[in-house]
Structures are given as structure tokens and as C-alpha cells.
């Protein structure tokens, strides 16, 4: 956000001759708050009267102009053509002739985790685990999943974390053949379940 230079052509609104700020006087009047001063002040009253004239203008301009049906599909056509799928990860069962992107794995996980009623997934990231090396003598599992989420206020978060991990492990095995996985879950927020409809 650029801070405007001091602009001699565009001063802040001058106070009304009575000292009040015209924007505030008008905003208050619209909200039905007219101070004792404004009630009897000709300058405030003029500002308020002028604003009443403009109520019609506001009404007219606020009439919605329906967005065209073509807008959303056009945007999404470009979005789907400009995916940022992340790195490619080879599937262990098949080898180099089959890979999936980080995005493919995350989309799959999100879809299944969204079905858990007590969970709203925030960030979900996957990466190939680091092999054994100087910094990590044991190495990491082949796939590491790191996700943050909000849990239902009424839920037991430890249980919920277990559910998340169990779901993630099952889905990754069934869909992609990943067996060697670590799932890290961090709860960053809570939410309240609303009363449902039918």
C-alpha cells in the first residue's frame, strides 16, 4: 500500500464552519444519530439535507448488475490451464513410469479428509521424505504429509488427529500405493458445529 505524498490538490475534507467533520455528521445522521448540535446547526443540516438527495443515487447505483454466466468458466479455464502442481513424486509400486504431483496427492487427501465431520483442513503439504544423510541418519519416510486444520470444539483433538492419520494412511495406500508415510497434524483453530438442517 503506497502512502500518498502530501498532495496540495487533495486536502482532507475541511471541517464545516461549525468545526464538525462533514463525513462524520452525515454518517451519524444516516445511522439515525443526530446530535443536539447538528439539530440546530445550519451547516450540519445543510450537509444532512444534501446527503438525503443522494440517497436515491446510492439506491440506483447499488442495484446489482448480474455477472455474466461466462465469467466463471472463462476464469476457471485459465486457472485449470495454469496449475501449479508442485514437484513430481514417483509411485513406489510402479517406478519411474508413473508419477504424481504434490497437487494430485493433496487434492486426494483433502477430498477424503473433508468427509470427516469434525475437521476443516487448512494447509496440506506433501513432500518426498529426505533420505538418510549426515543431518538425518535415519532418513525420513518416503512421503511426508504436513497439515494444519481446525477441529470441532466438541471433539477430542487427540482422537481426531488419530482419525486424520488413519484416513490419510489408508487413502495414500489405496490410491497411490504409498506405504511408507508420516502424517503430521497440527490444530491451529477450533470451530463450532452448527445445528444441522435435514
Amino acid at each position: 500500500m503506497a502512502v500518498d505524498q502530501v498532495d496540495p490538490v487533495e486536502p482532507a475534507p475541511d471541517a464545516l464552519p461549525c468545526g464538525r467533520d462533514p463525513l462524520t455528521v452525515v454518517d451519524d445522521a444516516r445511522a439515525g444519530r443526530i446530535s443536539a448540535h447538528s439539530r440546530s446547526c445550519e451547516y450540519c443540516q445543510q450537509a444532512i439535507d444534501e446527503d438525503r438527495l443522494l440517497a436515491t443515487v446510492r439506491e440506483i447505483e447499488a442495484e446489482p448488475v448480474p455477472a455474466p454466466d461466462t465469467l466463471l468458466p472463462r476464469v476457471m479455464a485459465t486457472v485449470f490451464a495454469e496449475l501449479r502442481p508442485g514437484r513430481q513424486i514417483a509411485l513406489p509400486a510402479v517406478g519411474p513410469s508413473a508419477s504424481v504431483t504434490e497437487l494430485a496427492i493433496v487434492s486426494t487427501l483433502r477430498h477424503h479428509l473433508d468427509e470427516l465431520p469434525d475437521l476443516i483442513v487448512h494447509r496440506c503439504r506433501v513432500r518426498a521424505g529426505e533420505p538418510a544423510g549426515e543431518l538425518r541418519p535415519e532418513g525420513e519416510p518416503a512421503l511426508v504429509v504436513e497439515l494444519t486444520a481446525a477441529g470441532a470444539y466438541q471433539a477430542d483433538l487427540a482422537d481426531l488427529a488419530d482419525q486424520v492419520r488413519a484416513t490419510a494412511h489408508r487413502v495414500l495406500r489405496e490410491q497411490f500405493g504409498f506405504d511408507d508415510v508420516r502424517v503430521d497434524v497440527e490444530f491451529v483453530d477450533l470451530f463450532t458445529l452448527a445445528d444441522g438442517g435435514d
Binding site: 461466462t70 508413473a98 497437487l103
Partner: protein
């Protein structure tokens, strides 16, 4: 890309890509193909199409050959196909099905054998998530 190889003078890379793309998109579990440089083409096309028709975006080509990368290495044909999978059947099974379908299509159409790799760019859990299907 369009040069026929010395070994197969009749079959261009484009023809291979077209046949492979069709076989891939027709495989159950594949909802669409993902072109590698599609966005450059798409912006130009959508602007032009809109000017010409004033109406709908030009429909996406479902069996998009730009989603197939064709390489010839030591006379052997290697393909990489970029897909979006639906997850039903499981992605692993879909990958196998795509490879089989493409191998069979190339053998049937051109008598060619190929090494087929599949890259799953994304998964989509609706029956057909491509914008053109809406």
C-alpha cells in the same frame, strides 16, 4: 516435433500424440488431459474466440495432443502423458489402464511399441471436472 523418424517415415510424432491422447481420455478414471504449455495457447485462443463468436469460450479439446510428450530415443518411442484422474478406480489402477490403452492404441494404429509414462497432475472427484463440461 513433426519430423517423421527415419525408422517410421509414415508416422509423425503428431499422429502418435493424437492417438495416445484419444486412448488416454477414453480410459475410465481419466477426467481430462493437461497440456504442458496450454496456458500460452489458451489465452490467445480464448481472446480470439470471444471476438469471433462473441459468445462461449472455444470448447477445450478433450483429447488434447499437447498433453502427450513424444520422444524418440535410439529408435525407441517414449511417451509421457499428463492426466487428471478421478480417483475411481484408484489412481494406481487408472495409471495402469492408461498405459495399457495407449500401448494397445499405438500397436493397433501404427504397429508401434512404446514406453508409456503417466504423470497424474491432479485428481478431481467430480464425474467430469473439466470446465468445458459445465
Amino acid at each position: 516435433m513433426t519430423e517423421p523418424s527415419a525408422a517410421d517415415p509414415a508416422v509423425t510424432d503428431d499422429a502418435v500424440a493424437i492417438a495416445a491422447a484419444q486412448a488416454a481420455i477414453d480410459t475410465p478414471g481419466v477426467t481430462r488431459l493437461v497440456p504442458a504449455i496450454g496456458y500460452l495457447i489458451r489465452d490467445a485462443v480464448s481472446g480470439l474466440a470471444r471476438q469471433l463468436t462473441g459468445q462461449q469460450l472455444a470448447p477445450e479439446t478433450r483429447a488434447d495432443p499437447d498433453a502427450v510428450e513424444v520422444e524418440r530415443v535410439d529408435g525407441a518411442l517414449r511417451l509421457t502423458i499428463r492426466i487428471v484422474a478421478t480417483g475411481t478406480p484408484p489412481v494406481l489402477a487408472t495409471i495402469g489402464a492408461v498405459r495399457t490403452a495407449v500401448e494397445q492404441a499405438l500397436a493397433a494404429a501404427f504397429g508401434l511399441t512404446a514406453q508409456v509414462s503417466v504423470l497424474v497432475v491432479d485428481t478431481a472427484w467430480e464425474p467430469d471436472a473439466s470446465p468445458s463440461a459445465r
